[in-house]
Symmetry: C2
Subunit: 406 residues, 2 copies
């Protein structure tokens, strides 16, 4: 991880940050966003491929329900675990999927990014190990670093399309971690794991006494509509988290949820209360309305993502310099830039400065990925295609000799 480009003014003499304060690394793509927005303030048009910031119009029901809730002045404090109606609706939806009894006592509403932090905070002590299958979403690294945990990176093989394997699971557990995080469908690779392998992971964690966080933020966005979820809350050791941000195109609502054993859910609610009291009721009302149309809306989004991502993937691979493995879900391309001769920071910095196209450096997903960048394909279609074209043009400028040599 790097904080290059962030100026850090000196503190007053005699004052110091805490050790945890020194461990803060944040999310690189938000720093890229800040730099991109500075360019925009200078009057440049910037092509945003750095953040998974969906620009499809969300279901009209969400905005309408939010508007009505605001009009009804539902602007007071709300219950710390989230509004009862949303928790009940999520419990019913999840119960139907896993064919188990699930109630609102198993559901806690909170931003999904914060839930990663809350899960690790509740289950791990400083110095404990947490295993991540890499490449892995930056927030896992950021939360673990801030909480002074030791990350055990378990690389998934690029040649296998970055799929989860029994071998990787055994490697993760052999490090005797306190917790494992698995992210299916995967950000940034778009891989969708084999349900049988996921069940094996859960069973191995249960028998080894290892907590398991299953981040299923993209589970409803597989291109073929298949979807598997790990079985919480009765498994006890499994905490499932997800978000409305991606599947309903409302990242600015900052609303997600956890499904967990009721002892864990009670702790998560207490964590909400301790940290930030509660979430707005009106954004939760909006998400509740969105939930009622989620299946229909997600089906449209999947189609759009499959089409646009395939177009981008084709452009990338046709460059003969950049490479990406065809994703099966979500809206990211994890692009191998080793053909350009630049590392991820150099590449993404110059791509932004010279081609006004913002991308996320690969090292945000693990130090082993300095020859990758992640491109998000969920923006406005013409913006995404232009951004990818600029990325390819930049690669050609850098790698022209190589192409001729090939």
């Amino acid at each position: 991880m790097t904080s290059a480009g962030i100026s850090t003014p000196a503190l007053s003499a005699g004052f110091h940050f805490s050790s945890r304060g020194e461990q803060l690394i944040g999310q690189e793509m938000f720093r890229v966003l800040d730099r991109a927005q500075a360019l925009e303030r200078q009057g440049h048009r910037v092509y945003h491929l750095e953040l998974g910031n969906p620009r499809m119009a969300p279901p009209a029901e969400i905005l309408e329900a939010t508007r009505q809730s605001l009009e009804a002045q539902q602007i007071g404090y709300a219950p710390m675990a989230g509004i009862a109606e949303l928790r009940t609706a999520l419990a019913m939806r999840y119960a139907a999927r896993v064919e188990e009894s699930v109630t609102d006592s198993h559901i806690v509403i909170s931003p999904a990014n914060l839930l990663i932090h809350q899960f690790l905070d509740l289950t791990c002590n400083p110095g404990d190990r947490v295993a991540l299958f890499t490449p892995a979403f930056p927030s896992y690294w950021a939360a673990a670093a801030h909480l002074q945990l030791e990350v055990v990176p378990v690389p998934l093989a690029e040649r296998d399309g970055f799929h989860l394997s029994h071998q990787a699971i055994e490697a993760a557990l052999s490090a005797t971690p306190r917790a494992v995080i698995v992210n299916n469908a995967n950000n940034p690779t778009g891989a969708v794991y084999d349900p049988a392998v996921l069940r094996y992971l859960s069973a191995r964690c249960a028998s080894a006494g290892v907590w398991l966080l299953s981040d299923e933020t993209y589970a409803d966005l597989t291109f073929d509509g298949s979807c598997s979820t790990l079985t919480a809350p009765h498994a006890g050791h499994v905490v499932v988290i997800s978000s409305f941000s991606k599947v309903l195109s409302v990242p600015g609502f900052r609303t997600g949820y956890a499904i967990a054993h009721e002892a864990v859910a009670a702790k998560l609610a207490l964590s909400n209360s301790t940290l930030y009291s509660c979430l707005p009721a009106f954004t939760q009302r909006g998400c509740l309305a969105g939930l009622s149309v989620l299946d229909r809306y997600a089906a449209e989004v999947r189609l759009r993502n499959a089409r646009v991502t395939a177009l981008c993937d084709e452009q990338i691979n046709r460059s003969n310099i950049l490479r990406s493995a065809k994703p099966a879900s979500g809206f990211y391309l994890f692009v191998d830039i080793s053909g350009t001769g630049l590392d991820d920071m150099q590449f993404s910095r110059r791509l932004l400065d010279e081609y006004h196209t913002a991308a996320t450096p690969g090292r945000s997903f693990g130090n082993a990925y300095r020859s990758f960048v992640r491109l998000a394909t969920c923006g406005a279609e013409e913006e995404v295609l232009e951004g990818v074209a600029r990325t390819v043009a930049f690669a050609h400028q850098l790698g022209g000799c190589r192409v001729q040599a090939a």
Copy 2:
């Protein structure tokens, strides 16, 4: 602190929470809210005096700007430190007040409750001491407990109207804390501290190398319109926090801010990014519109609060069993219930069950305050007056003999 009334289902065998997870205490008034809402679901009308949940209509400008922002689909990710326009507006407002140069690099938007946690997280290591002048807002205790800090409670004298004194400041600093938290105007006592004493506190902290959090959430709600702020950000060691929740009657917007040295502000922004990425842009747009009418609106709210709080204070003291010191700000009464013979938990539990009136037990503000409850007077006027009347009726039921003896 107590978690009485919260059932904690057992974890699966072999699984344990972290030490920090065990330290979570949350905010008692949110548990009271949960119990009160359970009564409401049974069909009872409950009088809510437990939370500072203002029910005055907020400025129409806030709801209108929020609605317009939603309509413009400003529902993507926002900058991690908050939207630039709101930071700039806050910087200008604060600069005019302290007559120093303040820019948006000194301002970070985040929920004020979370900023308490973020401040302590950034400045204190586990085992460090943090001094609180008591009675003190529950979130200070909750954040310190969660971060495994040692709280040094420094009681302010009830006979002096719970005012901050030089003696209390010296007592706080003699404990060699890493940080001090001061809350002016004060929740729960409504005391407004002498500006000269506050300046002395800041100077003493500076020379002792002690961080100082100045929670000024109620600073614009003093009954006489006076207002003092501690001078950040150039003092370096001072972090000022405040919230739009109370002064603009929009607690459900969950939006507050910090004013700090730019090194601290940069860390707070990174903390936002690490924890929850960013806040919604549309709620920040609403608060920006509210800021432009804050002075006019706060003047109305102050008048209303002074009037209603005085009515309540009079009812309480006329009971001859309950006592409260007349507040000079905000919308709370810190009520001495020692005349009733019950402790705070017994009193507030029975007040809720038998009189359907919710209050916050005094121990939430420090263990020394088990003979107090806090009543919030910011609800709908008739609800507040009825709730206070019920509180007095309950006290009479309990303390009838005493009254006759008096």
